[in-house]
Subunit: 434 residues, 2 copies
């Protein structure tokens, strides 16, 4: 049983100055400071457990998300945790459908990121108390706006069917882990020398799947993609990521030129809102053997529903901090299963790997029951700030063994990187004369 | 020439306690307090003119939008107004594509509402200085993500073609105004008696087009729709608005039941993100003679592009405060023209009528050149707080005659309704023991 009444909710603006090293740079986000709106939930339960939740941001604007968390706080404070998870669908609906607040979403952008941070903290706390995954999963899903594609009955059926073979898949995860790919080698702002060095190291470390950022300059892309394909050889897997840089016709032209480097997918070729555009690009690139991947900026389950309906993607990339936590991600995993589309989550950032490993291992054990065409993104950044960091072994995520959602940060990290008053930022801002 | 360097940008949280009277209530927004993030721009120009811009909100969360306006402010402060409007497309792109801030959108939700408020203020100031509509309109549009449907050349062509007959249409607007419909009679929270009384008054005032809120309870809808259809008679126009209450199959079933009351359209039958869902509903309701209308919560031009591509709506409802000001609304007006879909803007709220009259009268004069199937929403609320309120004559909007975007509020209103420190809120919050 879930225990305790929520007595306190705090939200911190924590930023890491990653832009100083061009980490995370791509065609649209040239100087991201990987950051998080970091939520802590406390209850009056005697166990003294706290729930930690994050949503990922790129620096500026984190204070806006913190402001939105505070606006949502009255829906959480003084609630009994048992009541929250006892009617988790209803609680989800309450957060996303506040009669006044929904206008500034609905279920998208800042308020939805804030919702995710809060719900991630609830899941962390609940999972810690229970010490295991909760059973009544489909009762956590809000089927509003997706019932034309997935009903609660269908969801239960999928989960039920996969009881068979579950033990074997659990054992497989514990020994081998979930296959990952790396984005750490080829950020757009890295020099060729750095790219080569990181690629050499990754190959030594056993990595077989690599992603390269493209989309800003064609000549540059041809050179960098050639370089990385040469280094990894023809057999290993290469993915490309344009981070929404192109219009629809431009995406098709650009990728026709880069097809010689045999990418498995082109990620975010255009606006994350353009379902029909992604469908057109998918159709145009299919003869070239290039799939379309998207999802990290798809703002809710309604967009994913349509991407699946329109056959607009061949790889679906859920995001643990943009969608409404486990609740909404569950609905997307189940829809992807129904349409037979592999889920290859977005990760990296701050804490995204820590969160998403739970979702993707669950997907394998209980939903997809397959590893075909599946892998999870990995970026080797900022894990040192977490109390329960991910464990990578031979380019695979090993299942997390501590209870909870792995989102608790080290106290000293939160303190040091708090914006604008933490030590790191005080010094940086002073150096910039601010 | 645009004059002055922006020296100051302020954003106020102004809220009107409309929920006390159930004004604005619908199936999803049961207790809205009509509110605005109110932006004031000042420059160092000698003319002393200020730019006023708003975005519309429903109470809670206005502080989040204000926070986002402040996060965007560095892109505006110390800029020369001439440089801003001289490369308005570039400035638009800068606001919407900030490398860090775009993550919490992009171009949707809170940051996009904040962008709208700022840009609305820029247009207000620019229009006041120029004393007339600007000419180089297509240069203000960011065609990113819509070039597969509308190119700059096509946009110019449409505007060019409509030079013919422009004078006549201007004269027609000055004498007759732009046709409007009223939503004031039938908010969901009004009693039948109140509905009847307001309807009687509206009929006396010459109104011929009425909108009724539906979607919460079928029995209630049947009674209220019957009541209003009886009062207005078979010839006058009735529209229905479900404010996103339904899933796709539910929308079709519900409207089959309400078809007997002969609605022209059903507005927002489901999630504003569900393009394919709206297309399915459109196909199902076409044989019943019911059109689909949506737009007030469609978050950017990419969504409108797809609604048009998928033939998902028969009436397109732009919003002057959710889209990125005149710039983005222009692109939607032009796409609607290309697809032959009539634009019937969303208005009401706070100041939406004041803003949108400019857009719709411009649409008639320079883009659509037609009044067929066209009308603009009108709600008789809160106009008394504006310095240049709309003028309605025989159920038509008369063209605004003062320079600017009509968004300046009366100083005493801003002061009195500021949240939480204005007189009105201090008293209300004290009465609620807060």
């Amino acid at each position: 049983m879930a225990r305790g009444r929520v007595t306190r909710l705090t939200a911190c603006d924590v930023r890491f100055p990653t832009s100083l090293g061009a980490h995370g740079s791509d065609a649209m986000h040239t100087d991201p400071d990987y950051s998080t709106a970091y939520v802590t939930l406390e209850t009056d339960a005697e166990d003294g457990l706290k729930g930690y939740g994050i949503t990922f941001t790129l620096g500026k604007g984190t204070e806006v998300v913190v402001c939105a968390v505070n606006a949502l706080a009255p829906h959480v404070l003084n609630k009994d945790l048992g009541d929250i998870v006892g009617d988790f669908r209803g609680f989800y609906r309450q957060l996303t459908s506040d009669s006044q607040l929904r206008w500034i979403g609905p279920e998208k952008g800042v308020v939805h990121l804030a919702t995710a941070a809060i719900l991630n903290a609830v899941w962390d706390l609940w999972a810690k108390q229970e010490g295991k995954d909760p059973r009544t999963l489909s009762s956590c899903i809000d089927f509003r706006y997706i019932s034309d594609v997935l009903t609660e009955e269908e969801a239960c059926e999928i989960l039920q069917k996969n009881q068979a073979g579950k033990k074997e898949r659990e054992a497989q995860m514990l020994t081998q882990g979930y296959p990952a790919y790396t984005t750490s080698c080829a950020w757009l702002g890295y020099s060729d020398d750095r790219l080569k060095q990181l690629c050499t190291e990754a190959l030594k470390g056993g990595w077989t799947r690599f992603k390269v950022k493209v989309g800003a300059d064609m000549q540059d892309d041809v050179r960098r993609c050639g370089l990385i394909r040469d280094m990894i050889g023809p057999e290993k897997t290469l993915m490309m990521d344009a981070n929404q840089r192109w219009d629809v016709p431009e995406a098709v032209e650009w990728m026709a030129r880069l097809a010689e480097f045999k990418p498995l997918w082109i990620e975010e070729p255009t606006s994350p809102d353009d379902i029909l555009g992604h469908a057109a690009i998918s159709r145009a690139l299919a003869p070239l053997g290039i799939g379309v991947a998207t999802g990290e900026q798809c703002h809710n389950r309604v967009i994913f529903k349509q991407l699946l309906q329109a056959r607009a993607l061949q790889f679906l990339q859920i995001d643990s901090c943009r969608l409404g936590s486990v609740n909404e991600n569950l609905s997307v995993l189940l829809m992807a299963k129904k349409f037979g589309i592999p889920v290859c989550p977005h990760a990296g950032g701050v804490g995204l790997c820590e969160l998403v490993q739970h979702l993707i291992i669950f997907d394998f054990i209980s939903v997809s029951a397959s590893l075909e065409n599946r892998m999870c993104e990995y970026v080797d950044h900022l894990h040192e700030h977490f109390k329960y960091p991910v464990l990578i072994q031979k380019a695979c995520y090993l299942p997390p063994k501590d209870a909870g959602y792995s989102t608790e940060m080290k106290e000293e990290s939160v303190k040091k990187y708090q914006y604008p008053d933490g030590d790191v930022w005080r010094k940086l801002l002073a150096a910039q004369g601010k």
